[in-house]
Amino acid sequence: MAKADASADDVKKVPFYCYQCVAGPDLAKVTVRNGVAERLEANFDIAEEHPGGGRVCVKAFGLIQKTYNPNRIKQPMKRTNPNKGRDEDPGFVPISWEEAFGIVGEKFREVRAKGLVNENGHPRLATSTGGGGTPVQYMGTFPAFMAAWGPIDQGFGAGQGVKCYHSEHLYGELWHRAFIVAPDTPYVNFILNCGANTEAQSGVVGIWREANARARGAKRVHVEPHMSITAAASAEWVPIKPKTDAAFLFALIHRIVHERGWADVCDVPFLKNRSNSPYLVGPNGFFVRDPDGKPLIWDAADGAAKPFDAEIGDAAMEGAYEVDGYELGPDNTRWDHKGVTAKPSFQVMLDLMAQYTPEWAEAECEVPAETIRRVADEFIAHACVGETIEIEGKTLPFRPVAILLGKSVNNGWGGYHTCWARTMLAVLVGALEVPGGTLGTAVKLVRPAASRVGSVLPGEDGFMRYQFNATSSNAWNRDPHIRNAYKTLVPLVSDSPWSPALGPAHLPWLFQKHQPKSWPRHDPPDIWMCYRTNPSISSWNAPEVSNRLAEFPFIVAFAYTMDETNHFADVLLPESTDLESTQLIRIGGTKFQENFWHHEGWAIRTKAVEPVNDTMDMSDIVTRLAQEAGILDAYIGAINGGAAGTKLARPGKYDFSLPAGEPPESETVWDNMCKAASWDMTGGADVHDLDWFREHGYMLKDYNQLDWYIYPALEAQNLRFELPYQERLTRHGQELAMRLGEIGVDWWETQLREYEFMPTYESFPEIWEDYVRDFGRDPAEYPFWALTARSFQYAWGANVGLPLIAEVADNIAGHSGVVINRRRARELRIEEGEQIVVESVTGRTEGPAVLREGIRPDTVLMIGQFDHWKTPFAKDLNRPSLNSVTDISLKLTDSTGSGSDIVCVKVYKASEKHLQKPLAVEEMGRYDGNIATAAFAQAAE
């Protein structure tokens, strides 16, 4: 029907939000004519307030097709084939919702009767809820269910393995409350970007702000092995050897502090007053402290050592000084010193960085030394050291330079090094958490979660407070309380609600197959519930993860279409999707990726159309599940307590709480939530119900721009950034080593070596080459580095089953197959579009060759995550996936518990398959998954 027709039709525009990716939410409206969602557009009502001009991105436009996708699961289903496996037909048959709830309820009651944790101390119920926390924006009251249930193992993570911005998340929060790091784009003039795919991951707001910055004159230098769309939109692309970014960054520091002379070009007051640069380091590597335990600084003005918080005339940054004091080592080891030689930690850093010359780096990372020097010089030239700017009436330092790190740059081995170097570069010129500089966007590990600035609280030694997981002998979590053992193995990951998913979430898959040495027994969870996640596709070594899933005894999948994970499920519960259900969420403030708002508030996603199929609103499903589990009141209590949004009652203020004992309908929950949220926001001046939100879409109040920066809060409390020296962290590492040694765990030793006061470079690519050798193969046989990159059109969107998205994504090169350097391909006689195989020691994947110039000759790239074998439409795309050739391994896991999307591969034509030999792993006659570590081999003996 043409648009102009039908004036008599029932037409309405329904506001909703799109939160399909971490860069959301974006607000949109959908036009519904006679009950059918026809078209979608941005909600321009919020154009002024939204930092991305109120726009929505390409992914949002897929939502209508997502709603009417004929491949959706149209009603609850149950498995009839008890045998699970990729090649087993699950034999799903439609059932009624009543039967579905009956089956799940019975299982819930059975498990609760047995006890919430199993004999190994692990929760019997596990949940996985998709990447980046975005599913939370769709799962309604499910968080309240989880809160009401009791112990749940969320340690299988989001379902992707720990390949997020992991080191950035952890070190970022420690150092500057930066779960995610962003440039202060509206003010920045120079961005050094080591592989962050900003234009693919930062959503509407990121693209909007970056485009404005480019037009304004900001310059971005992009360092990555291939020319991503972000590199394309940068003023310069610097091809770098994969996984050597730390060498590049160390050489930048060398250039600045040694060749250019730190005293001439750095922000010396910032270094002296806002970092631990002047803290004196003793012979054992720990700070030298005064009798009160305060680290000492040498005051060159007086020629005396003083506690860090004393009045200091001229803090010494260089040299060595004789001081009295003591060092505090692990397990309260104390070294008392009299007249011991101590150096400022800055001097220690200068000593360490002396070796990392641009020439040294060139040999390592294959970026010309001349380029490294130029980039460093551009960085300091743009830093505007000494300048200030007024923000909201307050004068702040103005340092318009920022450094970003990409995913595989800041996770896995080398992640510590790159994160440290990046943050240190910002500290050198005083460009951390000030206008124009490198900022954090949100906090997930420190508290309070709602306020980054509020989380700047005084802690030890003049630094911000940070709750490490205990490593002392009496407080250490000896027996992991969940399967990934984050509290046991990773002090830095802290213990917030996000910590389980940020622990080594791939270890449970590994441990399920191979019982590690000296470790509690590991069994799969009795029940696993998965929501908007597909680990059978998105994990490293996805095929092996599928095998592990097949061993899970009972899986409840909230399901959209059939996919590679719910293939193993026992019950499929189809939820009403984005346009068919209701939820209220927080918007505004500062959020990842580049969401820096001048407002904050709430936005609604409301049922725009009646469910197309026999699906249910997620909150209604959850309420019923809570009833079945016999935890209804606890569940209602959790909703009232704020688990699904905000508190429904605050004593003396308002009370919109739900009555106990009455299962609430979704609409009631969100109606009350609307009232509570609007009351809370306006102090009761404007209380709005669900109908109001349905009409208006959102509600906002002002948010102070000063809260984009935590520098003012540090300055006000006279706190310092904990850089460059990592005393606390190293102490925890040393204690952890002792603890693990005490229980006979020797398979975490490499990880323990990563705890260093300051990171020393190691040749990271060799770790992956070594991995090839562990399989008895010569790395020369696998001459390519295989990498992946985010696709803007697909990332996080769970939209691989939408042909509309595929159509427009195909306009961007690389989506269709394996990107390979054109000249290199010709040497291998590979033609454009020819089917090629990418093979590692553990897996294979294939797709058409895409010949490009913008990629190093030693690198191949597979965009997105494909290789589907079940998801309708996606399974016919013939697209490769890096996840089919990477591996899950202890050897490839760093001390924070993360790994990287990188693997050594060979590439050959599919037409030469007849020459194919068995995979290295097959040839070894066993599949360990983690084969390279001795830990499991020994355990097996």
């Binding site: 029907m1 102009a4 059918v36 969602a37 026809e38 078209r39 979608l40 557009e41 941005a42 321009f44 109120g54 726009r55 929505v56 991105c57 097709q65 009417y68 004929p70 003010y187 003039n189 234009e199 693209i207 909007w208 970056e210 485009a211 404005n212 037009a215 304004r216 004159g217 310059k219 020319m227 769309i229 590199a231 940068s234 003023a235 310069e236 692309w237 091809p239 130029r374 010089d377 551009e378 743009h382 700017i389 318009p400 206008p435 803007f792 059109q793 939408l802 042909p803 509309l804 998205i805 427009v808 994504a809 306009n811 090169a813 000249r823 454009e832 579009g833 490009r852 110039e853 913008g854």
Partner: protein, 589 residues
């Protein structure tokens, strides 16, 4: 944008876009927003952003180029349209009337921006299943007709009616521009010097794509900012190797609008019309005493020629998307050579019938010149298809024209031989008459031979000149490689050999009976070769060498790696925040 001017009834806006290449990141939000608003079928993208990579590792750059209808001030698609379905409004918007279009595809091949498509059937995104939403938004009226970007004229019009300002108010702005998340696509009124787009192109260097074609596109591309200065393309970017790479999105593909069925019009129509004219010219070499008989034969020949032309037109009829509306093609005689072709066909048809009925030489002469006109129309139809570089070459009409005549004269031989043969076979002539008529036919053949040799030489010269100047006239390497193949065959089999055979015939003719027989033989052989090769090359030109005009970036933001990276900038130009965005688009909202 001065709202007052936009809403001033005295003011005629000229809507256009300024697209900032430096801002665009290829996210495809515009592409999908356009698909949403305009309900386009799978794989039809009125707005498309292509991913362009240039240079060689490590000196590479990658750009994203927004493509689509340029709403040219001088749109080549409008004058060619035979129905008037494609028009240009006062405000510059090039519009489509789906109820009038016959789906002939002429506008699509006339567009140098690959902006037009024709969907011949309704198709959903999911195989075998039409979703409720697809069913709700499908527009049958858009099937079998040309479609393209309208600059969302419906939004512009309804927006203006509601007092909104296109380019500033999203509801009055094309969906792509309103949706753009990089503020790369700015829409506005180029006739208003104060408008956003006017300011942008006044303050910033901009280029128009394929400016040299004289289309004056109303999409102007910005390519330089203080951070990322503009640059010229490197010679390598325009190398044959790059432009012969089908994976290069700048390279056009073979058009699919006019296939072998359309080619039949040139194959049959060319030889048919040429034959009619050639046969008429021979009436001047026929002795006066045979004039009446020749006149009879000429009528038959004109009827036969008409038949050939009709076959060609019938195949065109088979190709058009909305057959029952074919009659609408008579609507644009002012500008469309396709319409003119139809009118000339009418004149021709009437003249042929009158000629048959009256045997009046004037009617036959009118028919002959109408046929010549028809041939001319055919020549001009291809030439005016500005979207196909191989067609729009200035020699192409002469080649079509010359070859039509060449084929027409060549067809005289078999036609005359066949006539005599048939008359003899059916014993319609007594032996003496056979002798007389054969002598007459041979005389005619001899005269025609001279014309054929001359035309062969002319065609050879035209083809050679065409091929030599192909690259200089913007015909890309892929098309040129097809042309090279065709040229060799045309050179040897289509012109050289026939000319040689005709010359041989001319020499042999008169050398006794054997010589005459030899002459007849080689003339017939030469004719068949000439006709066959003529048809062959026209088929190849229409259906195989018809690569669409590719896209171009005559200027680019200077960004990339190595030699192509923006030059280092060591401070000094750092801008203070709060400084108004220098030369930055105001954008929507």
């Amino acid at each position: 944008m001065s709202e007052a001017l936009c809403h001033d009834p005295e003011h005629t806006p000229r809507w256009g876009m300024a697209i900032d290449v430096n801002r665009c990141v290829g996210c495809q939000t515009c592409t999908i927003a356009c698909k949403h608003w305009n309900d386009t079928l799978p794989d039809i993208q009125w707005r498309r952003v292509i991913d362009v990579e240039q240079g060689e590792y490590p000196n590479v750059q990658r750009q994203f180029l927004v493509t689509g209808c340029q709403h040219c001030a001088e749109p080549p698609c409008v004058p060619v349209c035979p129905t008037g379905a494609t028009r240009q409004r006062e405000d510059g918007l090039v519009t489509m009337d789906y109820d009038v279009c016959i789906g002939c595809g002429y506008c699509a091949v006339a567009c140098p921006y690959q902006a037009r498509t024709i969907a011949h059937e309704i198709q959903g995104y999911y195989d075998g299943e039409i979703t409720r939403q697809e069913e709700a938004v499908f527009d049958d009226g858009r099937i079998g007709v040309a479609q393209k970007c309208t600059f969302c004229s419906d939004r512009v019009d309804s927006g203006l009616a509601a007092g909104l300002t296109p380019g500033l108010d999203p509801d009055a702005t094309p969906a792509c521009s309103a949706a753009c998340i990089a503020s790369a696509i700015t829409f506005g009124d180029y006739n208003d010097p104060g408008s956003n787009v006017s300011q942008l192109v006044r303050d910033n260097p901009a280029f128009q794509m394929h400016e040299e074609l004289g289309t004056d596109p109303q999409i102007k591309y910005l390519y330089t900012t203080p951070a990322v200065p503009g640059r010229e393309p490197e010679p390598d970017d325009l190398s044959d190797e790059r432009l012969a790479d089908p994976a290069n999105p700048l390279v056009g593909k073979v058009q699919q609008f006019w296939d072998w069925r359309a080619a039949m019009n040139w194959m049959f129509g060319g030889v048919g019309s040429g034959f009619v004219f050639a046969a008429w010219t021979m009436s001047f070499v026929v002795p006066a005493d045979a004039a009446a008989d020749y006149g009879l034969w000429l009528s038959a020949a004109q009827l036969a020629g008409a038949g050939l032309m009709a076959i060609g037109l019938f195949f065109v009829f088979l190709k058009i998307g909305r057959k029952m509306r074919f009659w609408r093609a008579v609507s644009r005689p002012q500008t469309s050579w396709m319409t003119r072709e139809l009118y000339i066909v009418a004149v021709f048809g009437i003249a042929v019938l009158l000629g048959i009925a009256t045997q009046h030489p004037a009617a036959q002469a009118v028919a002959a010149f109408a046929a010549l006109g028809f041939l001319g129309c055919q020549a001009m139809i291809l030439y005016r298809a500005r979207g196909i570089p191989a067609w729009r070459h200035k020699l192409m009409p002469w080649m079509i024209f010359g070859t039509g005549l060449f084929e027409g004269f060549a067809l005289l031989m078999p036609a005359l031989a066949l006539t005599i043969g048939l008359l003899a076979a059916f014993q319609l002539l007594v032996p003496l008459e056979i002798f007389v008529y054969s002598a007459l036919a041979l005389k005619t053949m001899q005269s025609a031979s001279v014309a054929i040799v001359v035309l062969a030489a002319a065609n050879l010269i035209l083809w050679t000149a065409y091929r030599r100047s192909a690259a200089a006239n913007g015909i890309g390497p892929l098309a040129r490689s097809v042309l090279a193949r065709v040229y060799r065959r045309v050179l040897i089999l289509g012109t050289g050999l026939p000319a040689l055979l005709y010359l041989t015939g001319l020499v042999a003719f008169g050398m006794g009976q054997t010589g005459t027989r030899l002459a007849i033989g080689v003339w017939l052989a030469g004719s068949l070769l000439a006709i066959f090769c003529g048809a062959y090359w026209k088929f190849m030109i229409v259906a195989r060498a018809s690569y669409q005009q590719g896209f171009a970036m005559p200027k680019q933001p200077h960004r990339g790696s190595g030699d192509r990276a923006a030059p280092p900038r060591l401070g000094g130009t750092a801008m203070r925040p709060g400084t108004p965005l220098a030369k930055a688009p105001a954008g929507v909202g």
